[in-house]
């Protein structure tokens, strides 16, 4: 039913629940899972960094290690997984990745839905998506 599943993640407990739900669904439907995380670009103060280390100061290194952890969980459930790290807004990262990979399902955690604050990630994704959206109860 769902061939291409996109899930947004950060290092929170609520995101971990959303990722677990996405892994279960991808396993059940035999689909590919795309795990997306957004990170803030680090302020580039390369002035104090010796030239030979400049290339190793990766603003997305935390994002990459998070994605590696989550991807290994998906692989443990025999789910085919791809990962995506984007700088910038999480909702934008999720919806643009979903558009690019042709997702038929986006999975997000519900944290932030109840408060109805403008700009919560699940709210923005639910309104901006062109495919099915599963809002996983995580709070």
């Amino acid at each position: 039913m769902f061939d291409t599943v996109v899930v947004g993640a950060d290092d929170s407990a609520t995101a971990a629940k959303a990722v677990d739900a996405a892994i279960e669904l991808a396993a059940l439907s035999g689909g590919t899972l795309h795990i997306v995380t957004a990170y803030k670009p680090a302020a580039r103060s390369s002035s104090g960094v010796p030239d030979e280390f400049a290339g190793s100061v990766q603003p997305d290194s935390h994002a990459q290690s998070l994605l590696a952890d989550l991807a290994s969980r998906a692989r443990a459930a025999s789910v085919h997984v791809e990962t995506h790290a984007h700088d910038g807004d999480p909702a934008e990262a999720i919806t643009s990745t979903a558009d690019r990979v042709g997702a038929d399902l986006i999975v997000v955690g519900s944290r932030g839905m109840q408060r109805r604050v403008l700009g919560s990630v699940p709210h923005s994704v639910a309104h901006g998506a062109g495919c099915a959206v599963l809002v996983v109860k995580t709070d």
Binding site: S110, A132, K137
Partner: protein
């Protein structure tokens, strides 16, 4: 994983599309579907009706006909279902039945999520914000 699945329905094409996809989902997850339809009770004047017809008059509501049809659709796919006709606002009806049945998923179509109605509060928007369980919003428009 998703054993008790609540889905809202009326006789609109978008609702039937949500139902069709919900049946597919329930088939995949092995869950039971609970069809919920909200309706306004028609004022029926039974005062001048013979007693033996009052019951049959009350039981032929359109909502029952719709729900029977949905049950047949589910059964054709091998999915178990139950029906709930509720006299309330559609979002309230979904939340009420989901709470009562201990649902782990509510399925709604995305009608009203985009455009002018999103600021006024559509059914999927209201359900997504108020549900005590996970919510699957399906593209039906």
């Amino acid at each position: 994983m998703y054993n008790v699945i609540v889905v809202g329905a009326d006789d609109s094409p978008t609702a039937l599309e949500a139902v069709r996809q919900a049946i597919g989902f329930a088939k995949m997850s092995g869950g039971t579907l609970h069809f919920v339809t909200a309706y306004k009770p028609k004022p029926v004047d039974t005062s001048d009706m013979p007693d033996e017809f009052r019951y049959s008059m009350a039981s032929t509501h359109e909502a029952d006909v719709l729900l029977r049809r949905l049950t047949d659709l589910a059964r054709a796919e091998g999915v178990d279902s139950e029906v709930h006709a509720v006299t309330s606002d559609p979002a309230d009806a979904l939340i009420t039945v989901a709470d009562r049945e201990g649902a782990d998923l509510i399925v709604v179509g995305n009608k009203g999520m985009k455009g002018a109605r999103r600021v006024l509060g559509s059914v999927p928007n209201s359900v997504a914000h108020r549900a005590a369980c996970s919510v699957l919003i399906l593209p039906t428009t």
